[in-house]
Symmetry: C2
Subunit: 333 residues, 2 copies
């Protein structure tokens, strides 16, 4: 039985939307146990149905979104996120979910759940949608766990991403690309030039060379490898550009007279469809990969639907045995 | 009289569209001299009008888009880009324009036109549009001239950007932001943490702190400072995301039945308006700032309109005296 430890107090709409998402998922995945960590009274307010596979574990504290990550997880010993992470560490749960403070969740993953032996730097990895390409999706790693990376960290991201793509997303022999400032193999900064050589030499990685940020959303590889600073900037740029464009379009339609207004009414369903495909949250949360159990972060604005998709993703990760086999790989390599 | 040296052979549609853009601009800016460097016969084919302020200087070679930058500018001594750069170096022209090979143009700027004394790393700087913000535009630097940067290079980008924003774009006391992975002053990688301190301490810079990639298109600062690797990735991500989104929208409209098709017809003018505002080329080319004369790169796909806007931008740069005053500043600091 898969058991998921859930930080019920993390996120802008916690605990209400977290609990709502858990109820929706628990009804569908009746063989999975959902452990809700947080203020019991607050959780029970929204726990409108009694389901056998939902448990509530009371915690007296919570990590706030502006808490200093490392300090807060050390001081707030009874915080929902911290207690949930400990449940994973101690084998009472298989995975950790939170929509709360990203830094604190990364710290909980690294310092409480703990790194897989042989992995120097676990990385944060979202699943991103592909537009106008053959693929449905791809993963990118790291997008923010490590602001400074050494070449072999990126090589390990390549292994981690390959395993995830294969086990969880079902891609056969996933391709790995290196995010770089040009496609030629001689391009790059000091870091990517070295990484290019490591990825080329590593036989466990199906390396297809450099990929450029311009082609990212066309899915140039199943796994895109980058340092956490660049990955973070690129991810936030995708988000910011999409939001800015949709806003501009809306404003432009509203201000350009009757003709366009009429068009907007007719186009409403089309717009909605695009908006939801831009929303990469529906493709699942970002996974901290390289720790002993999956630690998954949903966006702070996570609603019932996001929580539902992310929990289903976590169930798939756990049943795929990707972590077990990664532990094996890094023990023997 | 402002004299602009133009590489007539650079770009996907050269020399036709370059010459067309020059004719359009030369008619308007009758006090500016336009020097067309390239294959005289080819240029004359498109030079449909004889204007007193257009000169043709024949060159027997050209740099191709896939030529290795540094090697090609050294070997092809009679290439249009190289001869045009020499004209700037030798004082026969005030600025250099090309839509050709970016690497070769950067090399021409650095090795032929030459760095301003005191500037270690000239940077490439585009003017970017602002969506849904108070500002019209902002500049970002570096977006690709320097893949590896030291902290003081970014400090110099702050000065260069400030001068450009003030002299050329007419912004009073321009704000400078540091592209980083969080807004708090303690955030960042090793590089940005050091840069944050340098920018804070520098009295010539109106530093407003860290800015995140998510808010870039809302214009969080007049000048955004970043290393050339990250800046390149961010710029290409903006471009790729905008293109992917507009394509998806088009496809979605076409495939979703009569209702939406009708909407698309009505919305056509609105779409066109958005497309042209996304097109940051209309805001001008990217400037290699920090060399002795403005070196300006237009996109490889530059058409008559892009060439026109970019040449007008160059005229403004030269008449603003920004380069002269930058030379003064770096000589005395």
């Amino acid at each position: 039985m898969v058991r998921i430890a859930i930080d019920a107090m993390g996120g802008d709409f916690a605990p209400e939307k977290i609990v709502a998402g858990v109820i929706k998922t628990a009804k569908e995945l009746t063989d999975t146990e959902f452990q809700l960590y947080g203020d019991e009274a607050a959780i029970r307010t929204y726990l409108t149905e009694e389901l056998a596979n939902i448990k509530v574990i009371h915690c007296s504290e919570k990590i706030k979104s502006d808490d200093e990550p490392v300090r807060s997880i050390r001081r707030k010993k009874d915080a929902s996120m911290v207690v949930a992470a400990k449940a994973v560490k101690e084998g009472q749960a298989d995975a950790l979910f939170s929509a709360g403070n990203t830094g604190a969740l990364l710290a909980s993953g690294l310092f409480i759940v703990g790194r897989i032996k042989g992995i120097d730097r676990p990385g944060l990895m979202p699943v991103l949608p592909v537009f106008n390409g053959d693929k449905q999706q791809f993963v990118m790693m790291d997008v923010g766990a490590n602001a400074d990376c050494k070449p072999h960290h990126l090589e390990q991201f390549g292994i981690l991403g390959t395993y995830y793509s294969q086990y969880v997303l079902g891609v056969k022999n996933p391709t790995v690309g290196l995010l770089n400032n040009g496609t030629e193999s001689t391009k790059g900064n000091e870091l990517t030039k070295e990484v290019h050589q490591l990825l080329t030499a590593n036989e466990a990685i199906n390396f297809i060379g450099n990929v450029e940020a311009r082609e990212l959303l066309q899915g140039p590889a199943d796994v895109v490898v980058t340092d956490g600073f660049t990955g973070n900037a690129v991810l936030k740029t995708i988000e910011g550009t999409a939001i800015a464009l949709l806003k501009t379009m809306k404003k432009s339609i509203l201000s350009s007279g009757l003709k366009a207004k009429l068009g907007a009414v007719l186009l409403k369903p089309t717009f909605k469809k695009i908006k939801s495909s831009v929303n990469y949250e529906e493709f699942g949360g970002a996974v901290l990969l390289g720790v002993k159990g999956p630690v998954v972060k949903a966006h702070g604005t996570a609603d019932e639907t996001t929580v539902y998709y992310t929990l289903k993703q976590i169930q798939t990760i756990v049943t795929s045995n990707v972590i077990t086999d990664l532990v094996d790989y890094f023990e023997n390599n």
